[in-house]
Every structure is written in C-alpha cells, then in structure tokens.
C-alpha cells in the first residue's frame, strides 16, 4: 500500500512497503473471517459452543489453533512425490498473494495498477487449483487423488459463471481496471439520480447472485465441498497433510475467501468508496481499507450463512447446476446488460 508520501519513494522502498502491506492484506481478513465466522458465528448457529471457551469470549482460540499446529509432527507418506508434495501448499498460498495485486484500497492505496485488473485477478485466482491437483496427485493416496480430480472438475464448471458475471460489470463500467470500476460506481447515476452513485449490485443483481454462487463453489465451501467431503473422502486432497502444512491449506482457503470477497466488493458494492465521504481526501487512503474490510465481511457473512444452511450437493448435481442453469443465465444477463447499455 502506498500513500501520497510513499509515491515519492524509490521503487525498492515502495516494494518493501507493498510487501508488508500484502502480508497484512492476506492475513488480516483471513484471520478475521476464521475468528468471526468460523469460530463464533458457526458455533452459535450450529450449537457447537467449544470455540467460545478459550480465553475471554473465545478470543484466544485462534492463537491456540496456530500454536497447536506449529507443534504437530510433519509427516510425509513413503510413496509420496516429496518435491510436489511440499510445493503444493506454497502454490495455494502464493495464488492468493498475487490475486490481491489488483485490488484497490483507496485513491492512492494500490499495489499495482494493471489496466486489465479484473481479468488478471480472475486468471491468477484459478492458479490455486494447480496446487490442489499437485497435493491430490503427489500424496499417493486414493482419497487424495479423487479429491484433487473433483476440485479440478468443480473449478472448470464454476470458473465460467464467475467470469461471465464479472463481464456484466465490465460492460457497465466500460473498463477492466479495478480502480476504474470503483470510479464508475461512485460517479454513476441510476435513472438520473446520483445521490448514492451506482453500486453495481443494484443494476447487476443477477450478476451478483451468480458471482456469489460461483464464488462459493470456487472456494469449495459447503454446499459445494465435494473435494473435501468428510463422509466420502476423509479430507480429500488434504488427507495426507499434517501439522503446519495442513494449516497452510487452511490459511490459503480463507485468505482466498478474503481475496474473492474483496473482488466481489469492488465489483458490486463500490469497493473502498462510500457515498457521502469526500473521496479525494488523503484520509481515504486510511479509511478506504477499513471500508473495504467491512464490505469483505458483509460478503463473507453471506457465504458462511449459505455454508451452515444447506446440505452438500451430489457431484452430478453440481455439474448440472453450473452448465444447465448458471451459464445460460449469465449469457442472458450479459446480453441484456449490453442491450440496455446501448439503448440508454
């Protein structure tokens, strides 16, 4: 993250600032999501009150979990392809780091300005499935292999609705630049009324719903958790991982959840901007990340709410839902958006 001041720094100094910033951007939302939703909300919704016991209001649970995993023995099975096995969790975590590159946090608070922002984000976010496939294949375990293959099939099916839902926003904004999409939403008007700008959730509601469903599937959160279905595949592609390497997959999962929510918040909820605030103020470089974090948590609340509410799909239902419902619906959505854009 750079501020007005940091723009005058040399490139290597900016890079150090950005490196610190991206570590915060990856770990902070992930930690918040795990603590707030996975520990607190789920335990209340499902009457599993264990996570509320460690420390006052369960606030030490996160530390306890990390401490526990740090001390666990690191096991690699005999038949495993050791090099691929050790690199797999790193690939999963690294894909999250590069997804955050294009997310804007304020008027001057950005990591890199890539003109094809959203396109780049959608491309690199699917890198994590390579890590999952590596993990599944290298473990030399039948459950892992099936979990990895299922994850690949699921990503292929839901990548398309995700991309096509984002296309609706690109048509409306007329740009692929994430900062440009934020600007388009704050200066936009709904039928001549510009009081709150035009957050695309209002005009792209169908797109937002498709994006949320596809996002849930890409994150392999229940009801789309066939790759790690406990009752069928033990832990899917993570079966042979133990100790800290297992925790890396876990961090990767929720950091990716944060990254996808950040993209969804930028595309549909107006990103770091908020109506009524002086948006070109330097203060927005500090307030922007906070606003974005709140929007990330709003979207993650919906995802976790679906997660605890619905039972798991069957593998064939999952594929049919994507190909026969979501993809035709999103094609209709972009056609309708384009027609309306040209007519008005």
């Amino acid at each position: 993250m750079t501020t007005q001041l940091a723009v005058e720094l040399a490139y290597w100094q900016q890079s150090i600032l950005r490196s610190v910033g991206v570590i915060a951007a990856v770990l902070l939302p992930a930690g918040t999501i795990v603590y707030l939703f996975l520990f607190k909300m789920m335990s209340f919704m499902q009457s599993r009150l264990g996570p509320n016991e460690a420390g006052p209001y369960g606030s030490m649970q996160l530390l306890a979990e990390v401490g526990k995993f740090l001390q666990k023995e690191d096991l690699i099975p005999d038949g495993a392809d050791r090099r691929v096995f050790t690199w797999a969790p790193i690939v999963v975590v690294a894909s999250t780091f590069v997804t955050y590159v294009v997310v804007p946090f304020g008027p001057d608070a950005w990591f890199a300005q890539i003109p094809t922002g959203i396109y780049f984000a959608l491309a690199v976010s699917s890198l994590s499935v390579i890590g999952v496939l590596m993990a599944g294949w290298s473990s030399a375990n039948k459950y892992s292999l099936m979990g990895g293959l299922r994850a690949a099939g699921q990503l292929i099916a839901y990548e398309l609705p995700l991309v096509l839902a984002a296309l609706g926003v690109v048509i409306q904004a007329g740009t692929m630049d994430m900062q440009g999409i934020v600007a388009a939403q704050r200066t936009g008007e709904i039928f001549g009324f510009g009081g709150i700008g035009n957050p695309f959730i209002l005009t792209q509601f169908v797109g937002f719903m498709i994006f949320l469903i596809a996002m849930q599937a890409e994150l392999t959160q229940p009801p789309f958790d066939m790759p790690v279905a406990e009752s069928e595949l033990v832990a899917g592609y993570m079966t042979e991982y133990s100790g800290f390497r297992f925790l890396l997959f876990f961090i990767g999962e929720y950091a990716t959840a944060g990254a996808f929510s950040a993209i969804a918040a930028t595309l549909f909820l107006g990103g770091w901007a908020l109506p009524g605030l002086d948006l070109d103020n330097n203060l927005m470089n500090v307030l922007g990340p906070v606003v974005l974090l709140v929007k990330i948590l709003l979207i993650m609340f919906l995802v976790m709410w679906f997660r605890v509410t619905y039972p798991r799909f069957r593998e064939d239902q999952l594929q049919i839902f994507a190909w026969k419902y979501l993809i035709p619906l999103s094609l209709v959505n972009i056609t309708a958006t384009a027609v309306l854009k040209v007519v008005f």
């Binding site: 490139y11 890079s15 950005r18 490196s19 991206v22 995993f69 740090l70 001390q71 023995e73 690191d74 690699i76 099975p77 005999d78 038949g79 969790p89 790193i90 975590v93 690294a94 999250t96 780091f97 590069v98 590159v101 990591f111 890199a112 300005q113 890539i114 094809t116 396109y119 690199v124 473990s139 030399a140 375990n141 459950y143 892992s144 099936m146 293959l149 099939g153 292929i156 099916a157 990548e159 398309l160 991309v163 296309l167 048509i171 007329g174 800290f244 390497r245 890396l248 593998e315 594929q319 190909w323 026969k324 993809i327 035709p328 972009i334 056609t335 384009a338 027609v339 854009k341 040209v342």
Partner: protein, 121 residues
C-alpha cells in the same frame, strides 16, 4: 523500467513474499515440532487398513468432455472482455455483432446438451 513492467514486477515480488513467508513459518514449525518417524506413520491413510495397490490407482475421469466445453467458453470470454470495454464506441453495430457471436456459442451449448454430453455418465 516503465510503470507497466513495474506493476508486473510487483506480481513477481509478491510471489517471492509468499514463498519467503511460508518458508519462515515452516522453519519456525521445524524448531518446535517433534520428529519421531516410525514405519507405521509413513503408510498412506486408507481408513485404518493396509493400503491396497498403489496410490496412483486408475479412476474414471467423468468430466473430460466438460473440460473441452470449458475451453470453448473460456476462449469466448477472451473475445468478449475487450468488446465489453469498448461497447459505447461500437454502439448498435457492436451489439449486433456480439449478439450473433453469443448466439452461436449458446447454440453450441444447446447442441452439447441435446447430444447428452452434459449428462453424468
């Protein structure tokens, strides 16, 4: 170096940061964790019984046709993205052109559907 290349250099730096962070955490873990390997621990997990055959068992990949369809639609997305950013400039002409393009792709989905490819075999 131009700003354009520098933004992609940032991508490379972030990849490096990820690898360094993960290595540091694994290093910290290796200082704290025990290491007492036994032959039993390094057997792959197969619900508690001795594993049968090798781990790289043959399995039916049911969705290779879906993968082919995916390529068709992904290439479509590559074409639609640049068009979407310039829609205002193209106006009605661009709309009709892309309408035909999307219609043909939609037909391909309907064709696959009718052929029974979208069925779980």
């Amino acid at each position: 170096m131009s700003d354009f290349l520098r933004s992609y250099l940032t991508v490379g730096i972030f990849l490096g940061v990820a690898v360094v962070l993960v290595s540091a955490l694994l290093g910290l873990s290796s200082l704290l964790r025990p290491s007492k390997p036994t032959p039993q621990k390094s057997i792959v997990y197969e619900s508690g019984v001795d594993p049968v055959g090798t781990g790289w068992a043959q399995s039916q990949i049911r969705y290779y046709i879906f993968a082919l369809l995916f390529v068709v639609f992904d290439v479509e997305a590559v074409f639609i993205f640049p068009w979407a950013t310039r829609l205002e400039a193209y106006g009605l002409f661009g709309l009709i052109e892309m309408g035909i393009f999307i219609f043909i792709l939609f037909l391909s989905l309907v064709y696959a559907w009718r052929k029974g490819v979208l069925r779980w075999v």
